[in-house]
Subunit: 219 residues, 4 copies
């Protein structure tokens, strides 16, 4: 019996599908926070423009969170393509990851409303840090508990784990900087996902695979 | 003809996918209830902290409901991995389960707004109880109507059914206690999903399968 | 080339998955309409009860719409299990169906706010009628354009098409009755999905298939 | 190692599933923008009718956006059925597409609130233009980087790319016209998806495939 259950443990496929669902919803819910601006003269394009300009921080937060989740989705997939089996530890680390991801709309709205508030910005960075950390721990768990496919290269995993610490560390820095220099925290929060989204940052190691990249750690 | 239709009855796969969709959405919608706190001085980190502290019951309710749904998703999957075919009874019990699960955002918001209100807490416990009860009935239905895979161990099912009564019973207790001692109801509501989430509680029966556990009943 | 594209036309699988996604979201969004009632004394269970009682029409509308969508999902699946290929006509009829289904939260909220308003109730019935009609036309299209699997029984299809006209017709009656006798419209709207949800209504034709039913038309 | 990773790159299947999820959610979220109208006499059908009439622009925007997303979903699928592999460029163009699609609820709400505001209408057209452009670039990328299945006809792709420029160009025109002649922009925005939704517009090239059409470019 135990064996038959082990065979049927939630595989990466279902966990990925569930995570996909959560990420697809989070990425789509973000827009609900952007409310139509009030305009006195319904036909005034100028007033409408003023309304959009006032929404700028929210729009920037929206694009930023979208970018963050998109990069995350890509790396999440790349990770699970290397995973052969899922144990309870990985399952719950993934749940922690989803908890952080599904929480994103709140700090996004908070920072969109008060873009120069230190605590709001710090919370934004903190949530992204927790997400990155959970993902980093997933990589570690996968390596230490033999959850990876047999043919996965050890160096790739080591690289991914090393790179995976950069994101959370930078978000932690952003969370601290937020209280002193909000513009610095914004710059960091904008730069990190863009850095991870750029396909270039790995080309030195495998120049021949233009377009097809090995796992890039995570954002 | 009848035969060909029987062959094509909604299998566990589609029902699981639909349930996954609903659970992924519920788990993500919960955050919408947490509104950005109003702050007079947009740059005051202290005011923002005060706003977050006032949101504490909502944040706790969010994490709690997330945990509840996560545990539920895991056990729901483990259950369906043992299911060979779905009949009308199981289909509708699963719909009752989804009705309770998709209703969770309301009592979560209610209890987040009025954390010490007996009725709000009782409603929270009641909805979790209905969800647990529906799941318990699904186990019973699966056993009594021969819906399980042929190789599923009888003892495992008996254990799962027995354990599956603990959750609903405790939630019922929480719903009653809520009127007398709200803090007691909170403690119960926090403890039950944590208890079910802990991987340890079954290790005595199968010490060799560290990390891979048999179905754990449900929360 | 044309042939290879024909081979790759959107099959039932993807259309079903997309429809599943939409239905899972609609069924879950309904709860967002139920707002936490305001209470003056945060700890008064009696006030909370009063708030819940005032929410009764919304709660009933919620359960009703949930039931409607659940019945619909079941019949939608049973239909697509008989479908071998999807043409443009079926694709767009399914889109009309999804348009009606995804619109349901609005009339549900309307009728929940003004339960005795003739127009709100009529709109509720009308939307359900359009959904039922679209589904009925899907059955007709499938039969007339040879989209069904070769082994699907002609009588089953005829029965399903005949039964499929009952729902829309009754909803049309409910929409008219709504202006004269709101309670009559409510009774109809409550009865129709319950009638379709009951597994019994077909047992006379195939008494031996307890639990496993042939397609039941739609609601 | 590099090879094994290349084999496991996110294939069209997962990307399609994720895109499906996002589109299913966007198409369903649109209804949340339509709020129940306030009525003084709860039982007055006439007042309710007045409320619905005032909602007319929102309802039209809802149907329009639904139609746009439905057409898009269909063409998105047809495209991916021709795709053999996904590279980083296609991945990120698809993300740009999803960014535009998931943003749709905002301009839909904006235009629904201020239907004759030039800027709101221009924004609506602009977002649809970006979506169309992203999809157009996906076609180009697929052709230039050899991502299509080997048996896909060159003429079909050329036609699709040529046709795929019409939509964005017309939306750009609509965005400009919006400032001068709002009714003209509305007419364009209504006509374009209807034009793409009509199955006829290609019958001249393959008269024998009634119901089954080759990829129709996009809207």
């Amino acid at each position: 019996m135990t064996l038959s259950v082990v065979r049927r443990l939630p595989g990466p496929a279902r966990l990925e599908a569930f995570s996909d669902g959560v990420l697809a919803i989070v990425i789509t819910l973000l827009v609900l926070e952007i409310k139509v601006p009030h305009i006195d003269d319904p036909q005034s394009a100028q007033e409408a423009l003023g309304g959009l300009v006032r929404l700028a921080p929210k729009l920037l937060g929206y694009v930023l969170s979208f970018l963050f989740i998109a990069v995350f989705w890509i790396n999440h997939h790349r990770f699970f393509q290397l995973i052969a089996r899922v144990d309870n530890g990985l399952l719950w680390l993934n749940m922690l990851l989803l908890l952080a991801m599904s929480f994103i709309p709140f700090p996004t709205a908070f920072v969109g409303e008060y873009p120069w508030n230190g605590l709001a910005l710090a919370l934004f960075g903190l949530v992204l840090m927790v997400a990155g950390l959970a993902f980093h721990l997933m990589w570690r768990r996968a390596r230490s508990h033999g959850l990876l496919h047999a043919d996965v290269d050890v160096d790739t995993v080591r690289q991914a784990i090393r790179r995976g610490m950069v994101g959370p560390a930078l978000y932690a820095v952003a969370a601290i900087v937020a209280f002193v220099l909000p513009i610095g925290a914004w710059t960091l929060c904008v730069s990190i996902p863009i850095y991870y989204a750029l396909p270039r940052h790995q080309s030195q190691s495998s120049p021949g695979t233009s377009g097809n990249h090995a796992p890039q750690g995570h954002l």
